[in-house]
Amino acid sequence: MPPIPLPTAVPLTYYLILSAILFALGVAGFLFRKSLITVFMSIELMLNAVNLTFVTFSYQHKQVDGHLFTFFVMVVAAAEAAVGLAIILTVFKNRGTLAVDEIDSLKL
């Protein structure tokens, strides 16, 4: 039996499929988890999956534009984390819980 040749490189589509898997896991976390902070982390996971797609397409077109989109996503994610975590801190201060199911009224 001849030895199976190991692949030396993988096609571009593998990266896209990996990105899809990560995005789906992010969606799953967003839907299933109940802690506010974990839901927030699932959003970050989805953003990361999208970033991978941008960089992969940048590779395919041999252009740098995808990297810039990734860069902007990172900046937006940083701003979002700053504001979002401040909101989470305030919510926890006012309600004493982080479970999304229990934070269901607009007024205290």
């Binding site: 896991l25 974990t38 982390m41 960089v55 305030t90």
Partner: protein
């Protein structure tokens, strides 16, 4: 070598991402997310995006996730209680998730029948110089707008997190 690196870090990324979703404790989730980001940084390097890989580690893993860990530690948020959404939800959702992934993979494979191989070093346009050139010429306006966005975020965070003045 490229293939080994891809499969190794893709596996780490997927396992860590699953860990993000299934771990009960927020700290475990946050550190698994750092694992995802680290392995994605290696994949960015394979795709020739040096600057983005470094920025991923500095901005995402080194700043944003530290902020998450910091807040989790500050709130002393304990482990989640077991989700009341029971096994029925899982039983329905898991096949749907797998089905969705299968369809997406099929579409991706059909959409790019002759996808090029990713060879490390074939695309070298992702150096800090190239990114900077594009950022300060073609993308100057979005860049300036993001700086305003960050300023707004800083002010918003300060307003939200300050102590109530009596």
């Amino acid at each position: 070598m490229d293939a080994i690196l891809f499969f190794l870090f893709a596996a780490i990324a997927v396992v860590s991402a699953i860990n993000v979703v299934v771990q009960r404790h927020p700290i475990s989730s946050a550190l698994s997310l750092v694992g995802v980001m680290g392995s994605l940084a290696v994949l960015y390097l394979l795709l020739g995006a040096e600057f983005i890989a470094a920025a991923q580690m500095i901005v995402y893993a080194g700043a944003i996730m530290v902020l998450f860990v910091f807040v989790i530690m500050l709130l002393n948020a304990g482990a989640e209680k077991s989700p009341r959404k029971g096994w029925i939800l899982t039983a329905v959702a898991m096949p749907l998730l797998v089905l969705f992934l299968g369809m997406v993979s099929y579409i991706i494979q059909r959409g790019f029948p002759n996808a090029p191989l990713v060879v490390f070093g074939q695309f070298t346009g992702g150096s800090p110089k190239d990114v900077g050139m594009a950022l300060f010429t073609r993308y100057l306006l979005p860049f300036e707008i993001t700086s305003v966005l960050i300023l707004i975020a800083i002010i918003g965070a300060v307003v939200l997190a300050r102590k109530e003045m009596e």
